[in-house]
């Protein structure tokens, strides 16, 4: 188990850093730290790995305070963005390296087993320069896992790969993580990566954790507009609460749950594009007539439409089988209401 307890850190002669981080990752869990460049997510990894020392708070791994434990004794497997394989060593030599350092018995056998597990058998004698990006990533993974570390730290591990390979590696990493039941700390700026791989996602902004929740919770109930915009596509519709469960928007009255808000309070409605449905008429609540279709974009299994509802632009995605598009329906339970202030 990994824990950050009120951890703060600032780089010397700089105001960049992280502030009051409280975070825990349970054993066997995969936590993704998601955020834009410069938000402090890699700093978090550096503190966990012991590459930097925090100014305040404490970092715990498996119930042990890491304050006086150097990086070399934390026993964490780290995979870097650009693989960081030793160029002068072969695949086998790279994977065996941690075992040799730890004077592990049957090092070669263990290394070969791990190479096999990541699907690289037959490549033991090759040098990193002779491998593809995906293969290098697998070697990096094998090397990070071979010595049975307390946790696996992944720093933007897929960002250097192309889209197809990224998806393939995503599945493989999750599968490996589950097979080995290893606590994993994933740093990423890719929301899709975080949502599809993690049990829990911590969203970071300006050195702070702004929300930490399951991917479903984060997607359906974001705490603020920034998170809503960052995690998936969304329509942000401004409105004013008009009585129980009714919000007045630029395109009409929308029925939604408003119990947390006062009458006449300004709010924002978060409407996910894929939750919007096409209907034939505006006879039911939350159904609105389309004034004009502004654009259509074929996305493969769906089509993305941008339409005008009484002059208000809204985006949504629906199945390709549609023949005519006159009205849309927004299910009440799919709308998330946020404070508009």
């Amino acid at each position: 188990m990994i824990e950050f307890r009120s951890v703060s850190f600032e780089y010397p002669n700089s105001r960049a850093g992280i502030y009051d981080i409280n975070l825990s990752v349970n054993t066997g869990e995969l936590l993704a730290v998601l955020g834009h460049s410069g938000c402090g997510k890699t700093t978090l990894l550096k503190l966990l790995a012991g590459f930097e020392q925090h100014n305040q708070g404490s970092v715990w791994i498996n119930g042990q305070d890491q304050a006086n434990i150097p990086c070399s004794r934390r026993e964490l497997g780290i995979v870097f963005q650009d693989y960081a394989l030793f160029p002068h060593y072969t695949v086998l030599q790279n994977v065996i390296y941690p075992l040799k350092i730890k004077k592990s018995s049957q090092a070669e056998k263990k290394a070969k087993e791990m190479i096999n597990l990541v699907g690289l058998s037959g490549n033991e004698g090759k040098y990193p320069s002779q491998l593809s990006g995906g293969q290098r990533q697998r070697v990096a993974l094998a090397r990070a896992l071979v010595f049975q570390p307390k946790a696996l730290l992944l720093d933007e591990p897929l960002s250097a790969l192309d889209a197809t390979l990224r998806e393939e590696m995503r599945n493989e990493i999750v599968s490996l993580q589950k097979t080995l039941n290893i606590t994993t700390f994933l740093i990423t700026h890719d929301q899709e990566e975080a949502m599809t791989m993690a049990n829990k996602v911590a969203v970071m902004a300006q050195g702070r954790i702004v929300q930490c929740a399951s991917p479903e919770e984060l997607y359906n109930n974001p705490l603020d507009l920034n998170i809503a915009r960052f995690v998936g596509k969304t329509n942000i519709v401004p409105g004013i609460v008009k009585g129980a469960d009714r919000v007045e928007t630029p395109f009409g009255l929308v029925q939604t749950r408003t119990h947390r808000f006062a009458n006449n309070q300004t709010v924002n409605l978060v409407i996910r594009p894929e939750q919007v449905q096409a209907v034939d008429s505006a006879t039911q609540n939350n159904a609105f007539a389309i004034e004009k279709i502004l654009s259509t974009r074929f996305l493969g299994h769906t089509t993305e439409y941008q339409v005008s509802l009484k002059g208000y632009k809204m985006k949504f995605e629906i199945a390709n089988s549609l023949t005519s598009l006159t009205h849309i329906f927004i299910p009440k339970q799919t709308i998330h209401v946020l404070n508009g202030a």
């Binding site: 790995a49 012991g50 590459f51 990086c71 070399s72 004794r73 934390r74 026993e75 964490l76 497997g77 780290i78 870097f80 650009d82 960081a84 030793f86 160029p87 002068h88 390296y97 941690p98 350092i101 730890k102 320069s129 010595f147």
Partner: protein
């Protein structure tokens, strides 16, 4: 442009060609080219104790300077890169540039002033000559190694090794040294070429018993022309060999970097 290039090549090549011809000429007095053919001058150099001793001394100094460069500068570069202290790096760069900026004459006078006192009577000692050459070659080895290692992913690879539990010495031998190997060899070629050909400082600080080969060459020109030519050709051959090895090493290094 072509004509200028040819003129430049003649300017550069003619003295070398004359030295080569002169080293095999039997007699060369007041004529454009020497007369006769002989290998005696080379034989005489080898048989003359002073030349042989000077040649061996030059080789010994060169080897010691190479060793000193590796032993001092390699860990220094490694430590500068790992500490990431920009002030220390800046200061070392400045210090490394001094031997290039200051004329050798100035360094030589500095040595004479510093090491002819009662408390420091070491002028003429071989170890002082080695230190002198080390100071002169420091920038060439330091900047070669520093530039290559800054371009490499060394600091990240060191962190990886650290996270696996490797101590400083293991990281130095298993990460830094293999990454730096080609740069070290390339740097040493330059160091050796400079040390073997160095005249000015050696002439000022070497003693009678530890004169280097280039300092002895000066005396050769007071004697027979053929002997002087042969002695110079030997030095020239050494310099050319080292230059070729150095450029071969550099092209190998660049090919490796591209791969």
């Amino acid at each position: 442009m072509k004509r200028i290039t040819y003129l430049y090549l003649v300017y550069l090549g003619l003295p070398i060609a004359l030295l080569l011809v002169g080293s095999f000429g039997q007699s060369w007095v007041n004529t454009l080219l020497p007369s006769g053919f002989t290998l005696n001058w080379y034989q005489e150099i080898w048989q003359t104790t002073a030349y042989r001793k000077a040649f061996i001394m030059s080789m010994q100094v060169c080897l010691m300077v190479c060793l000193l460069n590796v032993l001092v500068i390699t860990p220094l570069v490694c430590s500068l890169l790992l500490k990431g202290n920009s002030r220390a790096l800046q200061a070392t760069r400045l210090f490394a540039l001094l031997p290039i900026a200051a004329p050798e004459l100035v360094i030589g006078f500095g040595f004479i002033l510093a090491f002819t006192r009662d408390a420091t009577p070491w002028l003429g000692a071989t170890w002082l000559l080695v230190i002198g050459h080390f100071i002169l070659t420091f920038p060439y080895f330091f900047f070669t190694l520093m530039a290559d290692m800054e371009r490499s992913a060394f600091t990240q690879l060191d962190r990886v090794a650290q996270s696996f539990g490797a101590n400083s010495m293991t990281r130095f031998t298993t990460v830094f040294m293999p990454l730096a190997a080609k740069s070290i060899v390339a740097g040493l070629m330059t160091v050796a070429a400079i040390s073997l050909g160095e005249f000015q400082l050696s002439n000022m600080i070497a003693g009678f018993m530890n004169r280097t080969y280039p300092t002895l060459l000066l005396q050769a020109f007071y004697g027979a022309t053929g002997l002087a030519c042969a002695a110079t050709v030997i030095l020239l051959l050494l310099a050319i060999t080292l230059s070729l090895l150095s450029s071969y090493q550099n092209s190998n290094k660049n090919r490796g970097a591209k791969a």
